[in-house]
Symmetry: C2
């Protein structure tokens, strides 16, 4: 067998080393006589995994004791609901940036709970982009401001984080731990694990403890950050196997260091963007200043050529290059675990395809 080059936007490629370790231990974890999937979430074997996963994340993110690191279920989409349910009271309002499909979804869900002010809206712009900081109209007294640091579908990434008065909340589902960042500028940030960190079914939430404490106390326990925080994400049985996989991937990230992870991600992205820029055939979808290092979106001269490109790339072992169904075109998602050899393979294929069809 050969591992394919998997450009899927999520669930996405995981580090081969992490998968191989999980495979070796799947039936008998480290001589315990059971799988990680069979372990009590309150036993000593799982406890070590759980707390290492938290410690790895906090160290990589540079977070101190004023932050809680939570493992929740329901993906980023559940966060779209939990955030306003916790923090957006009836007579209050929250600011949201709408720069793509994920921001728009967050806004829609928050609007079911309370007043939303869209501080900037460039969701429909082509080329796709993030708002300029100067065009954002932040509201006085907003209870929080919500941004999406990377729009997975359109391939636009925020390069500068806005400075706001209100507590800043960020959906980082598709670029968390892909780059160093001052993560302490956020009151809260979150990410579905299935792009840079692990399998689906697990969301990582980092939240300032004093911010969590402001949450609506009348909510059901499972929907309150405070109750998860008090129980160290063991309020009920957590998604243990997903947390174990995240533990393995963050261990590898720590070994490499976030600066090196970022340098490799920049190098991979540059290979593709340079290929786009050197060509009259391919056309990048995102505005140059906002090009995502994680999800690279581009078009070919016709939909027919795009279909042929996807088909021939797939035959050559490069899978899942089709753009999101709502957006079309080509999307190459190259998260942390995506190997540079696969990116090289893609750009070689792109040049060859252009020669044959340009």
């Amino acid at each position: 067998m050969a591992r394919i080059y998997n450009f899927c936007a999520g669930p996405a490629v995981l580090p081969l080393e992490a998968l191989q370790e999980a495979q070796a231990d799947l039936v008998d974890y480290k001589g315990s006589g059971m799988s990680v999937m069979e372990m009590s979430h309150r036993g000593k074997e799982y406890d070590a995994i759980h707390n290492e996963a938290i410690a790895n994340c906090k160290e990589l993110l540079g977070l101190g004791d004023d932050y809680a690191l939570l493992f929740l279920q329901g993906g980023a989409s559940m966060q779209f609901a939990m955030i306003p349910m916790n923090f957006l009271g009836k007579s209050q309002s929250a600011d949201y940036i709408n720069a793509g499909s994920w921001g728009a979804k967050a806004i829609k869900e928050a609007g079911l709970i309370g007043n939303v002010n869209v501080a900037a809206d460039c969701q429909k712009d082509i080329p796709t982009r993030m708002p300029e900081l100067s065009e954002c109209n932040w509201t006085d007294g907003a209870v929080y401001a919500h941004i999406t640091t990377n729009e997975t579908i359109s391939g636009a990434q925020m390069k500068e984080i806005p400075k706001v008065e209100a507590p800043l909340i960020a959906d980082m589902s598709s670029d968390i731990l892909s780059c160093p960042r001052d993560y302490t500028q956020f009151a809260m940030f979150y990410a579905g694990a299935q792009k840079n960190l692990g399998p689906s079914g697990l969301a990582l939430v980092a939240i300032k403890k004093e911010f969590a404490a402001r949450g609506n106390v009348g909510l059901p326990s499972m929907l309150r950050y405070q109750s998860h925080m008090e129980e160290n994400s063991l309020l009920n049985t957590p998604p243990c196997f997903g947390i174990y996989m995240l533990c393995l991937t963050t261990r590898l990230l720590k070994q490499k260091g976030l600066e090196k992870v970022y340098a490799e991600n920049r190098e991979k992205a540059a290979l593709v963007y340079n290929t786009l820029d050197a060509s009259q055939f391919y056309r990048g979808t995102a505005k140059r200043d906002y090009r995502s290092d994680m999800n690279i979106t581009f078009r070919l001269p016709s939909v027919e050529l795009e279909t042929l490109f996807i088909k021939q790339a797939s035959e050559a072992g490069m899978k899942q290059l089709k753009g999101h169904r709502s957006f079309g075109g080509i999307r190459a998602s190259i998260y942390n675990a995506f190997p540079i050899a696969g990116v090289q393979c893609l750009v070689d294929f792109m040049r060859d395809f252009e020669q044959r069809n340009g």
Copy 2:
């Protein structure tokens, strides 16, 4: 290595065959060149797993097209919130049976949303039990009635399902698919997967479509049954790997047939209960008519002997026999996947321990 006998109440032992198949395919699923954890949840490989898992459950449960089978996140605890949020309006009330810790938790969460009538309360009774049907005070016009078919902590199981006017909802977390049942008498039932079906991080919900349609339309999408139903549990990225494991375990259940699964579960439980009944040393915790086939709880003459029992059993390869921290004593959880050889090993140990310490 030897696999231990894992009596954990959940996450619990999984079928060795399922684990071995998952292990073989972990890095390269059936020649696809990727792990199930890396697959697009909208791709053809995962699609086949997802739909087989649904079909297996529906077939085993005997459910027709009038039911939707959903895979949700957040475990049974999230259901404690979602049920009243969907179905319990401000001026309405719902009936709940309180027969143990899980029923009590469901009641507490529902009470945050609306009016709860406790139709019967035997939570604190010793020996532990379920209410007699005759002692249940069902409310006229209740929007639903909620029961817990098996109380995992106390080891009491409902042997006869009450007939009620209101739509009946059951938490079956610890006995789903352990026995044949007329599953169509329920408007809805649900179970965390981590006892009889798969790993944690996944809840199975079966719901009548016309009942789901009654849910509160103003809720965030992730909290509405209707929105999950409309998207076949693909409203957002589902817990794909957990669903895959559930697919493997339900495939094995289908091969065996639910009648045979039940016969084996009865046989396993009888081995332990007969040992309790033949002894003056051990004392079963549950009232005879309500003894659980899944979680067998008992006491020894002293806490010191219980501690010694747990320690020596653990040294002999029988793990996680300690009762829940809120309850004490011994608990042997013997779900579908628990092998009869392990039960035999336990009862041999029990007799030997009694001889040495009785």
